[in-house]
Symmetry: D2
Subunit: 221 residues, 4 copies
């Protein structure tokens, strides 16, 4: 089974602008030497410059359901695709979307051969997200995000139950888990719980040495 790691830069200064490029280079280097698939989700204004310069899969942190037209300020699928993104987070806990917009965003990505990662907060929401047929659902209990306590340790049941729920609804949907993930043992535990990988942020982005932290992350798989 292939493992997938998605690094979310959020709006951390350590992941903004030129810093996003440095992080992307770390993702690329560790992916190359470990064989693990590692992607980065920089801020939306940084997608183009990261994707232009670094050979790494780039995701958007958000996409709106809106199509072409009178939608000032919305994140339009063609715009992020032309900028170099290969997929997008949808419905992150810090950027919650309506069900209608989640569905429209996932459909827009699919129509453009891009990858959807729908974030959810619990098992029931994971089942609902899986019914939309994205490549990934990322389960992140909100109370653990940024806590430093890995979900794989604090609440392993939410991971296994999410994997089961997704499978029951649509066996093609893969589950990521997030919240508090930063170390090799966290990723290992996440895989052992049946997830396909992790969505993570501060543990790497705000690490003293992000590349070393990424090497540690993949060290046990």
């Amino acid at each position: 089974m292939s493992v997938f790691i998605l690094l979310n830069c959020k709006t951390y200064d350590e992941g903004t602008g030129i810093n996003a490029i440095t992080l992307a280079e770390a993702c690329r280097d560790v992916a190359e030497s470990s064989g693990v698939e590692i992607a980065i989700a920089p801020q939306i204004p940084d997608i183009f410059r990261v994707a232009s310069v670094v050979d790494v899969p780039v995701y958007s942190q958000h996409i709106d359901g809106a199509g072409p037209g009178s939608h000032t300020g919305h994140v339009y699928v063609k715009s992020i695709k032309e900028a170099g993104a290969v997929g997008s987070l949808i419905n992150h806990s810090e950027c919650r979307m309506t069900l209608a917009d989640i569905e429209a965003a996932a459909a827009a990505l699919k129509a453009n051969n891009m990858t959807s990662v729908i974030c959810t907060n619990n098992v029931a929401a994971t089942a609902a997200a899986a019914a939309l047929g994205p490549e990934y659902v990322a389960i992140e209990p909100p109370e653990l995000i940024g806590s430093g306590i890995p979900v794989s340790k604090a609440d392993p049941g939410v991971v296994t139950d999410s994997v089961d729920a997704a499978k029951r609804i649509n066996p093609n949907v893969k589950v990521l888990c997030g919240a508090g993930i930063s170390k090799g043992e966290d990723l290992k535990a996440a895989i052992e719980l049946g997830s396909q990988g992790v969505l993570l942020a501060s543990g790497i982005v705000k690490a003293k040495d992000p590349k070393a932290a990424l090497y540690d992350l993949v060290s046990l798989i």
Copy 2:
């Protein structure tokens, strides 16, 4: 199969305050003489007075996922229950909610033995809503709402596909359809397409004689 009709008063003046009571009495009378289950969703400030005075199932037009606490202005499940509601619309197209809030609202209603009617805009969203296990999903193509063109005629496929999608995800979930419904033939067509009933509004609320319009609605079943 029992048929369910839910009359949404929206913020029409014809369904506000004392007018909501008159509409509720019409629902009660037509339900009694026809044997069809008819419920009303008045505006939230009108729930108590309608439920206190008229023997009819009363639904809220909206409920937030928020529990007890610091949630000024939110619609709290215990508040609508104490006011006399037996259920609520969730995620109406005019009051879209995040997936997280839809899930929390449905869970709060279930925990209080109340009925959830999750509104959706297309087949994929119906599948997602069904995964949350509500009593009803109400499919309403937004472009037909208030159009006077019944969804059962304009887009019968969206109804049958929604029924199929819901059944595939959770056979206990019943499907209502809405948008443009006002006449007996519309309801009959909706039932024949596999739905359990209809969610409707202006066709009755703004009718010259709402009670006569309701009698017409149930005349062919």
Copy 3:
């Protein structure tokens, strides 16, 4: 100068349904014996039952800008007015609104001879709210809400600066302050800082004896 106290029930269980009536009676009794104007903002489904039973000014916790029409789930000015409300909070920190909706809500209340209390989070937002010409702007630094630390002590400058800003924009606008207010000394300090009164919630609603807490609140003015 007349002092105004507005008690916000939020979605506290202690302020839901029948409990809102008990709190409203306490407001009425303390208002009568002290001569201070005390109003209550119960949850929206509770407006009618509180206003029907207790002789006290009743405010809504929220109002949408929407007028009559296809606005399912929205809080419509005529609905809360018919239910017995005399005014409404607008833009509480737990129910933030767009500028366009704040303006529409304040205009709708004014057109119905009802009282607007626009909540704001800092001095600049107070100036903006004052430009809309409401009766009251209520400044509540979000970090102090529910903290138990009264804004009048923790950040007296935000109160005096808000009073100045409002006066400069529109001398008819009165300023309330909120966040952490519960005791007589807090209200006294708030008045001395130039505000017209307070918006408060947990300090009274969750007090062991809310009526005693209200008596204490007005004891020093």
Copy 4:
């Protein structure tokens, strides 16, 4: 008096990606030969590539109030600044913001020496926006946006009243007008009504020859 034209690309395909660069070049050329200040607001993922390649002032179509931190998907001031933006639209009618976020966004831009253009829908909202002290308030009656009927003809009073309202609150705030603007006579009328310039979109972006349309726009001033 210097005139300011801001071209909003919205999510029109004609203004996405490489097309935004072509539009930006047209803005630059017409600005150079006419002496009128012309700026462009491409989609957020396009800011960097437009600003890197074309010597034209670039605005963001949106900015969130959020600072650095856990704000996935939000548009952070430093990110758009590093990408090359010199300012941003705030609160466009297609991207309405809460008052608190409008204030935070304007403050963040000011702290970074960037230009704020707060969009409003009527005179009262213009007054409120002016109280926040942005460089520009852009009044756009929503019913005229994309209508082809210029606001300067359809509702000149809303422009002059907005200019008066802004001046009364803060004489340093300049007023733009928008909605339906596309021709030289529209811009001329807008200036004669006291505005400082225009915010426009489809009339140029979707024109057969955008550069010719821009030349026509500035031809009468």
